[in-house]
Amino acid sequence: MSADFSSPSSSRTRCEYSGAFGCCSALSAAKKLYLKRNVIAALKRCATQILCTLAPPLLLLSGAHAQVTFDRLVNSAKEPQNWMTYSGDYSGKRFSALDQINLTNARTLTAKWVYQTAATGKLETTPLVVDGILYATAQDDRAFALDARTGRPIWMYQRQVPSDIRPCCGHVNRGLAILGDKVFLGTLDAHVVALDAKTGNVIWDIVAADYRTGYSFTVAPLAVKNLIVIGVSGGEYGVRGFIDAYDAATGARKWRFYTVPGPGEPGNNTWEGDSWKVGGAPAWNTGTYDPVTNQIFWPTGNPAPSNRGEGRAGDNLYSNSLLALDADAGKLNWYFQFTKHDEHDWDATQVPILIDTPGESGGKHLIAQANRNGFFYLLDRTTGKLISSTAYGKQTWSDTKDAEGRPIANQNASPTLAGHTVCPGALGATNFMAPTYDPQTNLFYLTARDQCDIFSTAPQPYEAGHAFYGSAYFPSEEAEPYLGFLKAIDPLTGEVKQKFQHASPTWSGVLSTAGGLIFSGDAEGNFIAFDALSLKPLWHFQMGGAVYAAPIAFAVDGKEYVAIAAGSAVYAFGLP
């Protein structure tokens, strides 16, 4: 089969390609003539999307598939040349079985292409690659498809984002989901959009929530069966968090799971008074899926206000929890709350990785998360019971554990009006940086940070769409600089087996490959290949911009590539 870009479409504005996102020919012509009215008219015509199609140089992809079926996603291990979900597979391992780039030749890696997005701010995207085409996103809800061999664009989409959106932490997006012949984007104005994978044309566009009250999407959705599963952002605005599932074909909502239970629902009594209404518990990072049990494992974020517990006495379920949801109905099977009644903004939104151990009667079915609160948790994913919790970095908030083995907060850990130093700081011991589990070394790798902050309360009334932190934080008075690490943890014991100290803390995710390599980036703009056992750097490349994204590996025409976003660009590397 071939990838076919030539089929015309009568229902959309077709724009001639003329460079990154400035691509409407009508608009360009109007600009040249300085005709304001024409510019406005052209802008209107291109307003809903700026769509560019290359005059087809028509790459024929031998063996390429037109459709990404659920079956292909379940069996992604059979096609290691592709990277079809946020974490590379449903288990969240972010492991590539490709080994052409390996310990013996990583030193010879070279840049193959760079794609400039023309966006400014942080690029947090994880690209997808299917059959030679790379799909990724950039700030302000740009999405684009590239020839994965060359970085040359096939199409681009840029949403006309309302000027009054106020997402928490930059106009970021962490990537797309792909299913069938569509890619799916969650937008900063809280829409879910399906784009034609071949053209970038909008197939459907639905409103999930009112962005004016603080809702937004920054997460890469997850395609499961015929559903697009997506979690909402807005924990800084006192939203009531939720996880939604939409019919991939039509955009019809199939289920919604509110991460804060309403009156009469189990868990509502963990909120004081009406505080559940503005309880937060967003779900802004991509979860994982177990096809065997048809369960989605989705992590949730902070209760709101994030750093002030007054007024929301109780555990505040299901904030900072891992939820096991039935994929078809969105019904809760079990939950595990990592930080009860959180007052330090320690979202538990880190990717939970499914790990199976060999053994009698099929071995153990586990799920592991390196949490923002500084502890590494291992759970039984059948029951949600905690197996172990172990500190993997600097923490001062918990010296004791409850009967289940869960770390519990010290009496004096709460923020105060005058300010009180707690480790980890507000950014956490880790954050959204995607971790990896390498089945060859049986180690869990993550980006970690040692930093303490002074937490101070700042009472704030709730007002829809307004910031609702109830707090402030400052760098601690300690003279120590903040430290950043790549750490390798044995998930069965929680022990840190190996670490590499970065020059400063980084926001990069981590990739493992069958070539015996770990890839990650740093705040100074380096992309680095490490020996997976020693964590010694083998190779690095200076990309000229800080890394906030996570790497992937893919192959086209039998050649392996490793790709990552940095600064305002996407980079691909390969062997000479």
Binding site: E480, P481, D522, G545, A546
Partner: protein
Amino acid sequence: MFKPWSTLLAFVLVAVSAWAADDRNPLAGDPKAAKAGEYEFRINCALCHGLGARGGGRGPDLTRAQKKHATTDADLFQVISNGIPGTAMPANGTNGQGVGMTDEEIWQIVTYIRSQEVRAPVNASGNAEHGRILFYGDANCSFCHMVEGKGGRFGPDLTGVGGSRAREAIIDSVRNPSRRLAWGLTEATKEFPQEYESVTVVTADGKKISGVTLNEDSFTVQVMDRGEHIYLLDKNQLRSFTKSRESAMPKYDTDVLSDSDLDDIVAFLVRVGVK
């Protein structure tokens, strides 16, 4: 001539843009707004400007009546909204950390800042002219520090420091230079800048270099020594590489520099810095 439609239009325009288009602060002097602004300030501004707006090691003291980049309330509104190009002051909502503020919240912060202002001139306690003579003379500051194009390069340029740092922070940096190192080079997308860390390296051929880091990543380091030579070094080519949190700046005790002389130097730096 009476033009009912244009009057109505003007009224509508004023109504929709009640917060943003105002040249004057609609909340000026409102104690409730000042209180709300105090909390907004803690959340959005205090990281650099300190609790109570008194400044710190990263941002200026905003309790000074005279501000470098803003005079009127409208100026303050603009500075908070749009940031100050070429400085660490970000535009509202763009620092990647917090949420952006509404126009109303920005006006609350302006109201709060005004409520904290101390009208007395800050340099009243020092003799700026004597401070200038000391800076370029007996106190040896200019051996390492430049002010208005004159002086050394080994330490941070102090031309703007009087406008961008609290008085207490400047005094602390002189009396206890190692307590908190100066914030050095910044990178637009990097939240925590490199600092003026002290470093000693031994090169492959045995040469020892001591100085401050201008920049550093995991693989390279840029060092300036006291002779203002810049060395561009690959870490894996070095015999040794040692960093220290002990500042290269000598500690100025009161027996080296009296409180009154230090006051004069600070007065000089403030005079230059707030220009």
